[in-house]
Amino acid sequence: DGPAVIFDLGGKFDRSFNESAFNGAQRWAEETGGTFREIELQSDAQREQAMRRLAEAGANPIVMAGFLQETPLSVVAPDYPDTTFVIIDAVVDAPNVRSVIFAEHEGSYLVGMLAAMASETGTVGFVGGMDVPLISAFGCGYAQGVVAVNPEATVIANMTGTTPAAWNDPVRGGELTRGQIARGADVVYAAAGGTGLGVLQVAADEGILSIGVDSNQNYLHPGSVLTSMLKRVDVAVYDAFLAGPDVETGVHVFGLEEEGVGYALDEFNAELITAEMQEAVDAARAAIIAGELMVHDYRTDGTCPVQMQ
């Protein structure tokens, strides 16, 4: 009875994908008047426990966000053939699992183009959160977008840390940003959860531009946040909740075409994005959708065609 969502270790208000997932569920609840169950994980060992509990309680579908859920789900899913599971950010090959993955590299490509066009110095920055392939994919897509606009451009990339604490270290995010500014960066893209808030803050203090991530963060520092790379986890959750137990299983890629990823344009950054920039980006977007432009996904081979510093 009713859908459920499992939030990963970051917690449901991580201002990153967990929060986005929560927003999607919330929107569904508000629009349909339905109720959903939710679990915030405390530890790794609880992943399976949480899935099993919800499945046994009759929740259907059960949505979970985060690539760390992949292995537990592949163990649990076969035990509950009548329950549909939805996993976001990973692929689990089972008949009752819907795998939703996002083409973050494509969205990042677009904001990379914007960054290159907005940059006066020809140097742009990237601050990642925890150093995992997913975040490298953000960075790599971004770098490709930058170089597409300005082949001479320099992309400075930093990861905040190697442990999950890296999602929550705005101070270090800020310091990294300062360093990047000193090296000439005048646009910095933060793909770092809570750490990104520090990035955006310093960018605003120093009078340079920043790019937010996951949800629309343009409002945080109007006039300083160039745009945000949207990753519509909320849409994925909302869709799954709306479809209910009969949600289509299999792998679903949320790319530009599905509006699963994209860049944010609103009143807070209207003055920063010129018509000309918008035009260029939209053209690229169309080309990617049409398959004319291939953005390399770091996750496929662990390499990036663009050298970052």
Binding site: E40, Q42, S43, V132, T163, P164
Partner: protein, 371 residues
């Protein structure tokens, strides 16, 4: 002559302290607008109300027994090992290396190998701070904390760059071969209602065995005698011909090995693969467990059980009462540590006075008729 009976010291006081901690926790729960009674009931039922609950409670307790023993052993030599976290992480590395590197025919042999490797890896991670303490006087509290951070960085590097499965995003190793999966409670205690999904596994017995081992070591062997002697007085130890360097090294190696073996429960027994950050604070909880358990294996088992129950009961609490977040559970744990570990004299002092006055009255009563 003691001020009060031993049972009061060992059982009554911790019990009252835990109750106090729960009362304060209840207040916090009430303040955020939920019913403390219902919360309490959910926690107790969640932890002990079913084979399912017991499975998780004992699974967590297994971790805490290992890390608690690790801290306890070091305590006996007056060494404060805050490095359980890193030592356990390294233990996991040892487990993964040996289980992925060799095609084991059967879990029993694999378990032996895993014990050896997890212990050895944990021991090495403890031996470096121990050596620096013994030879260079570097404060072991600080070096072990530093080694936690270093271990964490090392594990990330290895998981991301070495162990990660081709094409997978998760920083985790491949799943171990079917043959080395440890039997879980369903297979050896299915009759108690444990199901196939329970995380409780064979390592639980290993933990109990470790308790027996530690008890024998500390209270029945010459080495344990020397460890305790050194812990009480290093000058006296030198008088007796006990070599401080040797004791520091051996004690920390045993301590690190015990912490490392925690990985068997999580990595080999439950996850069946090496995942990032699988220790999840068990190294720190071990400190509380050792202190609460008065560094005695039986005390460690009881304290580990309490913390296992808090973990599992807390998880259920969150499942059932969405308003209670996982941080609320952290608060409850903190209060339990505070009341049982640091504020225990708050209970003990009045209890001592009480038992003393009881005794006085008894003695007075015994004297009067004689006169």
């Amino acid at each position: 002559m003691d001020k009060m009976p031993k049972w009061a010291d060992v059982v009554l006081i911790p019990l009252i302290s835990v109750v106090l901690a729960l009362v304060v926790s209840g207040l916090v729960v009430a303040i955020i607008g939920e019913s403390p009674w219902r919360a309490m009931e959910i926690m107790v039922r969640g932890a002990f109300g079913s084979a399912y609950g017991w499975g998780y409670t004992l699974y967590y307790a297994t971790n805490f027994i290992f890390t608690g023993l690790a801290v306890a052993v070091a305590f006996h030599a007056r060494l404060f090992n805050i490095g359980g976290e890193g030592q356990a992480a390294l233990g996991g590395l040892g487990v993964a290396i040996i289980l992925l590197g060799v095609a084991w025919p059967h879990w029993t042999i694999a378990l032996l190998a895993a014990v050896l490797f997890s212990a050895a890896f944990g021991a090495v991670w403890a031996a470096v701070p121990a050596y620096l303490q013994a030879k260079r006087g570097s404060h072991i509290v600080i070096t072990t904390i530093m080694f936690n951070y270093i271990a964490s960085a090392l594990m990330v590097y290895l998981l991301v760059n070495v162990f990660r499965v081709e094409g997978s995003m998760s920083p985790e190793s491949a799943t171990f071969a079917e043959a080395v999966h440890l039997p879980n409670a369903a297979s050896f205690a299915g009759f108690l209602g444990f199901r196939g999904s329970t995380p409780l596994n064979f390592s639980f017995f290993l933990a109990l065995l470790a308790c027996v081992f530690v008890w024998l070591l500390i209270w029945r062997t010459r080495l344990g005698y020397e460890i305790r002697a050194f812990g009480h007085s290093d000058s006296a130890a030198v008088y007796a011909g006990i070599n401080p360097t040797k004791i520091i090294m051996i004690t920390m190696i045993i301590s690190g090995a015990l912490a490392g073996m925690m990985a068997i429960n999580v990595v080999m027994g439950e996850a069946e693969r090496l995942v990032l950050d699988f220790v999840e604070g068990a190294g720190f909880v071990g400190i509380a467990v050792a202190l609460m358990g008065r560094s005695h294996p039986v005390g460690v088992i009881l304290a580990a059980l309490l913390f296992g129950a808090l973990y599992q009961g807390g998880a259920e609490l969150q499942f059932e009462m969405p308003a209670i977040s996982r941080e609320m559970v952290v608060v409850i744990q903190a209060l339990v540590i505070l009341f049982t570990g640091a504020l225990d004299n708050m209970v003990r002092m009045p209890m001592q006075a009480f038992f003393l006055s009881l005794r006085r009255r008894r003695e007075a009563g015994a004297r009067t008729p004689a006169e």
